[in-house]
Amino acid sequence: MDFELNEQQNMLKTMARDFLSRECTKVKVRELEKNEKGYDPDMWSKMVELGWLGLIFPEQYAGTGADFLDLVILMEEMGRNITPGPFFSTVALCAIPIMKFGNTQQKARYLTSIAEGKSIWTLAVAERSGGYESSDLNCVANYNGEDFIINGEKMFVPHAHVADYFLVVCNTGEGKTSNGGLSVFVVKAKSRGVKTEIIPTIAGDGQCRVRFKNVKVSKRDVLGKINNGRKVVDFIMQRAAVLKCAEVAGACQAVLEMTNVYAKERIQFDKPIGSFMVIQHKLVDMLTDVEGLQYLVYHAAWLLSTGAKADVQVSIAKAKANEVYQRACIDSIKIHGAIGFTIDHDLGCYFRRVKAAEFILGDTNLHLEKIASGLGL
């Protein structure tokens, strides 16, 4: 048993914190919310140079061969700092499943391109309902004997408007069951029949609606086996959820720290407000929440990294992250008072991102249900 980061993880953490605090200020975060692209290509190039895009790819695909836990540490730092852009969608939502399910050609072609910063990726799963169960998914890919023809609509696809490739989850089976009938396709964003538009969100974080009208994809562009897409989606939902949780854990640490600083500095009734028991205990609860979240995320990530069955632990981490992020932000705003409610305060940047993190890759009820099932209920 060991709670400590290893040397490589500590180096990565320090490097990431330095880089992001320099390159990705909150002024920049706010700017990018208004920016059409939603990310800074210059910063992106630097992240490529730092080897972050291919962090966990084998060296043969231009990667650095680091492991999943290293990526978790990096995501935590990105979350702490709020790093807008398609890193998560490219690496967590797409590269990781390509590493797992891609064939040799796909891996060689796509992973190398990602590691070298030559392509941006995203995953298109959820549709109108916003849900992740197979029965929520109506987008179809019909085989005409030669190609698959995709028709349908995807919602809340992160950064689709700047992506070069999508992974698209479609129905390919007869009828819709919870275990069969889905397949995942690699689709070029510029394919004929693809239409992308930004859904305006309170975080200006570039989530999109993507419509597919008779979009043709070759059968070679299936990721994994045909009709085996649920497995791919479930795999993504585990790995990517843990990475999202790491991002959230980092964000929560930042929120806790800034609140604690404020509670010591802000004087009311001739005392720092942190000396009022109700405020102090709220901060203590936040600390307990945030520490608990961090350990749950590390635990789930470590389990995944060992190859052990981790579905319950992943869902525990996600449900906890959903709860803690929201509570930390709300309590922090309340402790800050009016200043925490303003556009120029960093807190709002976090608060406005709570719901995006909550609903991506399964909301609390979905994960509670997975936990219950995992317990044998």
Partner: protein
């Protein structure tokens, strides 16, 4: 024991309903403090204020001599509830005038002040729009710590200092301001005075403060040798703290019916929504977890309703509700948070969609509530402030801060 509204009150409710259906037909209205943000919304709100004044509703509970209808507290309760339900803009005219300036002037304003300012408010006129400036950078929850100085010089006070979090300052014609007229006091509650400041006075600079949703409600507000005639002093010099306590009680007492009205509407929409929507593979209405949460919110809504009734009933009996107003404010905040979070859980990913976007669900009401409740819960006193009041005034406990 009787929880029935009178027939007269019910008729009034019906009349407001008809009014709202006609006047707001086809509009997705912005009401409350947010109407101050855009020029277009503000203009519509002010046009509604005048309509409401014509209907005799705007200040209905005020005595007739002050432009009111002498309506009962329960009639006013029905009006506030129903107007909030429909989200009728213009009901508050920047909150201050309708909420507490008029009532405070009636209590401790000079005859001249009463004559000049109250009818302007009651008429729904743009010249009847007020803002209130108590808060300063170092006077938040501890708002006796007011530093803005007013020094008497002949017939005038000369004001210097800074105010902050002043909602509606960018729309208001007048400001209801707390200043320090005596700095040599032992208790900082002493030496504060209330005055009326003409927002057109030279030396006032207003800087907008947008909230994190980009909405312009708050302002920062600098006073540089602003001259205020001594006739604009309200009540007694250096006794402003006590006047102000009274104003604050006015501020909090209508919160319950107001938020009850809008929450009632949101809950109705939520029920409708879950009946019509599927998520994670099942109809939301058939999900016991969702059903449970909505039922819990319904319990809270009913509790808030009765807390609102109780305060109105007490006022109608001549009681000045102190702890009750604080309790209702705190309960509103608690319930707002619960309703907002349940609402976002139900509309899911759509809760992050911009309120004005075509993708927004339930008219953007849930997203708006979610974004606004943390700010609203701070305005008019944090939870801690309210609970301190209740602890001291109702439970007789010693000061906890």
């Amino acid at each position: 024991m009787d929880f029935k509204f009178s027939e007269k009150e019910e008729r009034l409710r019906e009349e407001i309903r008809r009014f709202a259906r006609v006047e707001l037909a086809g509009r997705n209205t912005i009401a409350g403090m947010e109407e101050e943000s855009s020029d277009e919304d503000w203009e519509f709100a002010m046009s509604m204020s005048r309509r409401l004044a014509q209907k005799g509703w705007l200040t209905m509970a005020w005595p007739k001599e002050y432009g009111g209808q002498g309506a009962s507290f329960f009639e006013q309760h029905v009006y506030v509830d129903e107007a909030s339900y429909w989200g009728i803009p213009g009901t508050s005219m920047g909150v201050s005038g309708i909420g507490w300036v008029g009532l405070s002037l009636m209590l401790f304003g000079s005859d001249e002040q009463k004559k000049k300012y109250i009818p302007l408010i009651a008429s729904g006129d743009p010249d009847g729009v007020w803002c209130t400036a108590y808060s300063e950078p170092n006077a938040g929850s501890d708002f006796a710590n007011i530093q803005t100085r007013a020094v008497k010089s002949g017939d005038e006070y000369i004001l210097n200092g800074q105010k902050i979090w002043t909602s509606c300052a960018h729309r208001a014609r007048w400001c209801w301001m707390a200043v320090r007229t005596d700095a040599n006091v032992k208790k900082k509650q002493h030496g504060i005075s209330l005055m009326i400041v003409d927002m057109k006075s030279p030396g006032i600079t207003i800087k907008p403060i947008l909230n994190y949703a980009g909405v312009h409600i708050f302002n920062e507000f600098f006073l540089d040798n602003v001259r205020v005639p001594v006739t604009n002093l309200v009540g007694t010099e250096n006794r402003g703290w006590y006047h102000l306590m009274q104003s604050l009680a006015f501020e909090r007492h209508s919160m319950a019916p107001q938020f009850f009205g809008s929450a009632r509407r949101i809950l109705e929409y939520i029920v409708k929504y879950v009946r019509e929507t599927s998520y994670n593979g099942k109809p939301l209405a058939s999900d016991p977890v969702i059903r449970n949460k909505i039922a819990e919110r319904a319990i809270e809504l009913d509790t808030l309703k009765l807390f609102g009734y109780e305060i109105t009933w007490k006022m109608s009996r001549g009681v000045i509700p102190v702890y009750e107003a604080a309790r209702n404010k705190a309960y509103c905040d608690f319930f707002m948070q619960r309703l907002a979070t349940t609402g976002t859980e139900i509309i899911g990913a759509y809760s992050q969609v911009d309120m004005t976007s075509r993708w927004s669900r339930i008219l953007g009401l849930i997203t708006r509530l979610y974004l606004m409740f943390p700010g609203l819960s701070i305005a008019a006193g944090t939870d801690e402030v309210q609970k301190n009041i209740i602890g001291q005034f109702k439970l007789g406990l010693p000061r906890a801060y």
